[in-house]
Symmetry: C2
Subunit: 590 residues, 2 copies
């Protein structure tokens, strides 16, 4: 490439640099000057106070251009001795788990000082492939939230289910070449990596030189060495101190996770020392809209780390600089010239409750709420453009002929993704196996919904507790087919039809009556309604399921993992029952 | 680019990865197993001891593939409880300052545990341009020493001297595109950066996304903000605690330097805390062969840091992981799977004297010396291919007509690169200005030596103390023209001619007698003779100069900076006297 071409592509940025340099020198007024704050300096580990010299922060074009004295600006804000820290970065999050489009997700976390997320659009990619990744990237580009998109590495999870799309190494490479993705997202197929599977090696190869994020629950010893050797640089699946300590020692960044359904913060905080903290970051992975609104995000993790006894600047570093360093994001994670002016202001260093938040140079939130005049743009979507709920109801069939005397039944266990495989005597009515409320054996079906192929698996499950009715949804990791669990066929059909009528979503039916519903038209996974509304509707769904007898804290989240054929022991996909240990589809009867 | 093309370019590496994974899993024997060492773990900040589990280090293809138990290997070494740390990295060094070609430089530092250097081939680039950079890169490629080459950013320094070559943004971009350089070397033209000069902005632009190393002596406040804003990420020129503290706070990595002629370690060590150490590295910048052999390199800095009171693992991190992180070198700086098996072994953590050293998986040194069977390959050079000493002796002229009564004289000051500009009455003989031994006013000349253009500056200098004879050399920062300082013209001509006869180098003459000499045929800067010989000859040169009356500790190093037209106040180049404050060539007489 000729120099002219290079410089031409950088032309805008270079013009901008000339202006920014002029502001930094003090020759041109800044856009905004934040005066008199106590600056949390994540490089020195200290707080720079106005007493020791000026700590004015000069901002232009959304970028911090200088810290110190002698600046003028078109606008000034007096921080009056409040603390000011870099905006927090979520090191690993699936936005889809908020059930909201990125703009609504941003509404929940920006007022909490989380101004950047490293996201894996893995769910939407399983539904809509490249289009799903592009949608998240486009949505992020217009937000004050910095959205760093990673390329989903394991789409589909296996071939024992029909996903909506696949991403191979060529497509991942194209995403990289087009500048859409920053690195490779959690490499969940750790056996594939350890054993050098060509598919995984190709994906690692095409993303070489970028940050490659890991996911290796329980991996220790020699297999862990192999995993780290491959160039994967982090993991967020540690649940015990010993596991976390070993991963850290082998060079993996430790991303401590506090998800809705996997809470590791309390278990792992005791590991943190002033000597190893630099290699430790915070992430949320998957949080429901209600948890985001009520408990928070990375801000909550920072507060809990400080309450646990970690030095406050250290805790803030784990939410900022460390993450920026691991992912190679030199424009984020610190209050310094050249970094994004995304900042969080608070009064109490021991309990940082965001008082005001700046994103890309603009004051956007105060006291936990976005300012009224802040409008978050959201990239449009055409209904159906990111996946459909296209079920062939003519072929839909819940009848199970009693072909044996020992039925394989999935046993769901409270708060666990792992299931047990039970062998039970079926309840038979007129030569057909039916649900057995007495023994809490419900019927479950998974129906391919991306192409209307009519593929459908039917099985039985224990542990959901429904006494009547059915629940249905298009969130079913990772393929996100239509999944329905119910006490009777009529309710199941009604719930399933309602979900498809909405273009994807969640529903609860009791016979022909739809008790409550939540439309998720974006890929069958997300809504563009306000996140507060989504959180409320989601609560109503759970309440309705409980009314029908559900004994689980969140039967919809539990259901979404009952079709995930990579977590043992027995799962159901549209291709049938999967024995995960054998890694094969098995029959309903032993 | 198609996936096939990408994978084809990675084919070798991927084949290798399959094998390495197999070794990491324990399925295939390693090449070498280092058993029973106490592993300095720079991630956790702790020492992993065999007592707490196996710390065997398995190595294959020069790479660490695993740490732990269950490995077999074709060769084993019992470390018997000795400490083992990652090999040290010099964060910024000009190999040329050792006066040796890279293989000889490596002979001095490898036995000391310095197994990687980030080098700026700035001197050779000023002589030979791209060819000089290529020569250093080619030399490094065949060595057990890891040589990371940065693109010289400021060649030539100014247009007030004739350098042998120039490197513009296009050429720097080509070096990057060809994979020869890893980043942009010390950006010395800090006023250019701060003021947004198009030349500097272009160079920053074409190296964007790579590590860009800084050099900004004394820069503070708003100009420092501008410098940091531009994307430059480090500095090694701090001399005071306050300066270093400010640079660190503004986001620059602090490279603490202990050069032969600029020793900042004692002044800056008090800055280091457990909270800021992660952003601090060690570098040597410029060290003479004698200093390298007698005092050492980064190993000496680590020992002195520990002796000062810095926790040993922290001190080792500053010499390893920190540097690897700043420069984005994930294959260096730690004992972990996937990292280069370059390691240093020692018995005393409080005083790490290298006992054995491994480089790229091979035991190469023991007790401070390379093993007898280790041969370091050195890339060949054709005499003259990297610059000449091509002086037009027909036009060579030392006569200075007495055109005024107030002579501008350079005043050299002991151990300083800064000079003073004196105005003195000239000593005139037969209408010509001559040296005046009584007042220690010597004659100095700088002769363009790259193209035989005949360009020659003549001036006068005080502070060298020669009572007779002359010293001459082709080391003259940054243009490296022939520079001669002498008490009489005959000695000056003899010394200069001798240097050119050798194809570049250093010489001392007394009248027609050459007292001693050192040939530096590689670009007039370096020799391929053993470094011990170079150190000895260099000592002899200094001794000879002292015999002639020199009062300086190292008159050759002092002389090499008397022609550097960017350090105030008065300097001499082949274009004449330069008033550095005015940034222009001035006459000999006021």
């Amino acid at each position: 490439m000729a120099l002219k071409t290079v410089l031409a592509t950088l032309h805008f940025a270079m013009d901008r640099l000339e202006h920014l340099l002029s502001v930094a020198r003090g020759d041109t007024p800044a856009d905004l000057l934040l005066r008199g704050g106590r600056v949390v300096n994540v490089f020195t580990g200290e707080v720079e106070a106005p007493l020791n010299g000026s700590t004015d922060i000069a901002i232009a074009d959304g970028i911090i251009v200088g810290i110190g004295s002698g600046y003028t600006a078109y606008g000034e804000i007096d921080l009056d001795g409040a603390f000011i820290a870099p905006g927090y970065i979520d090191a690993h999050v699936h936005i889809e788990s908020s059930l909201c489009v990125p703009a609504q997700f941003a509404r929940a976390i920006l007022p909490r000082g989380v101004t950047a997320v490293v996201t894996d659009p893995h769910e939407l990619a399983n539904v809509a492939g490249i289009k799903g990744v592009e949608y998240i990237a486009q949505s992020g580009a217009s937000l004050p939230l910095e959205v760093i998109v990673m390329a989903p590495s394991c789409v589909p999870a296996t071939h024992m289910a029909s996903s909506g799309a696949a991403l191979d190494a060529q497509q991942i490479f194209d995403l990289r070449a087009r500048g859409i993705v920053h690195g490779l997202a959690e490499v969940m197929n750790f056996p594939g990596v350890v054993n050098g599977s060509p598919d995984m090696i190709s994906k690692l190869a095409v993303m070489r030189g970028t940050p490659i994020d890991g996911h290796c629950p329980g991996l220790r010893g020699r297999p862990l060495n192999a995993y780290a050797l491959s160039g994967i640089g982090s993991d967020h699946e540690s649940v015990s101190l010993e596991e976390a300590r070993e991963k850290l020692a082998r060079g993996l960044y430790l991303l401590i996770r506090e998800a809705t359904n996997a809470r590791n913060l309390d278990a792992l905080l005791p590991l943190v020392t002033s000597s190893n903290a630099r290699r430790i970051c915070f992430c949320t992975d998957d949080r429901t809209p209600g948890d985001l609104l009520r408990e928070g995000s990375i801000d909550m993790m920072v507060r809990r780390a400080i309450a646990f006894g970690i030095e406050p600047v250290e805790a803030i570093r784990m939410a900022t600089l460390n993450t920026a360093e691991w992912f190679g994001l030199p424009h984020l994670g610190a209050i310094a010239p050249g970094r994004s002016a995304s900042l969080v202001v608070f009064d109490d260093l021991q309990n940082p409750q965001p008082k005001s938040v700046y994103a890309k140079g603009e004051l956007i939130a105060r006291d936990g709420a976005l300012l009224p005049d802040i409008e978050l743009e959201q990239a449009d979507f055409e209904p159906g453009s990111l996946g459909t709920c296209d079920v062939d109801w003519e072929r839909f069939n819940l009848k199970v002929t009693a072909d044996g005397s020992t039925l394989r039944v999935i046993e769901s266990r409270a708060d666990q993704l792992l299931t047990r495989s039970l062998l039970l005597k079926p309840k038979v009515v007129l030569d057909h196996v039916v649900a057995d409320i007495e023994r809490d054996i419900l019927k479950m079906t998974v129906v391919e919904r991306h192409r209307g192929s009519g593929k459908q698996g039917v099985g039985f499950i224990r542990g959901f507790g429904l006494k009547r009715g059915a629940i249905a949804g298009t969130i079913a990791h990772d393929h996100h087919n239509l999944v329905i669990i119910g006490a009777d066929d009529a309710s199941m059909i009604a719930a399933g039809r309602e979900v498809c009528r909405m273009g994807g979503g969640l529903a609860v039916a009791d016979g022909q009556n739809i008790l409550t519903r939540l439309a998720l038209p974006v890929g069958g996974l997300m809504s563009d309604r306000p996140i507060e509304e989504i959180a409320m509707r989601y609560d109503q769904l759970i309440a309705a399921a409980k009314m029908l007898g559900s004994t689980l804290a969140d039967p919809f989240m539990a259901m979404s993992f009952m079709a995930l054929e990579v977590i043992p022991s027995l799962k159901l996909t549209d291709l049938g029952l999967v024995d995960v240990e054998k890694f094969e589809v098995v029959g309903l009867f032993e």
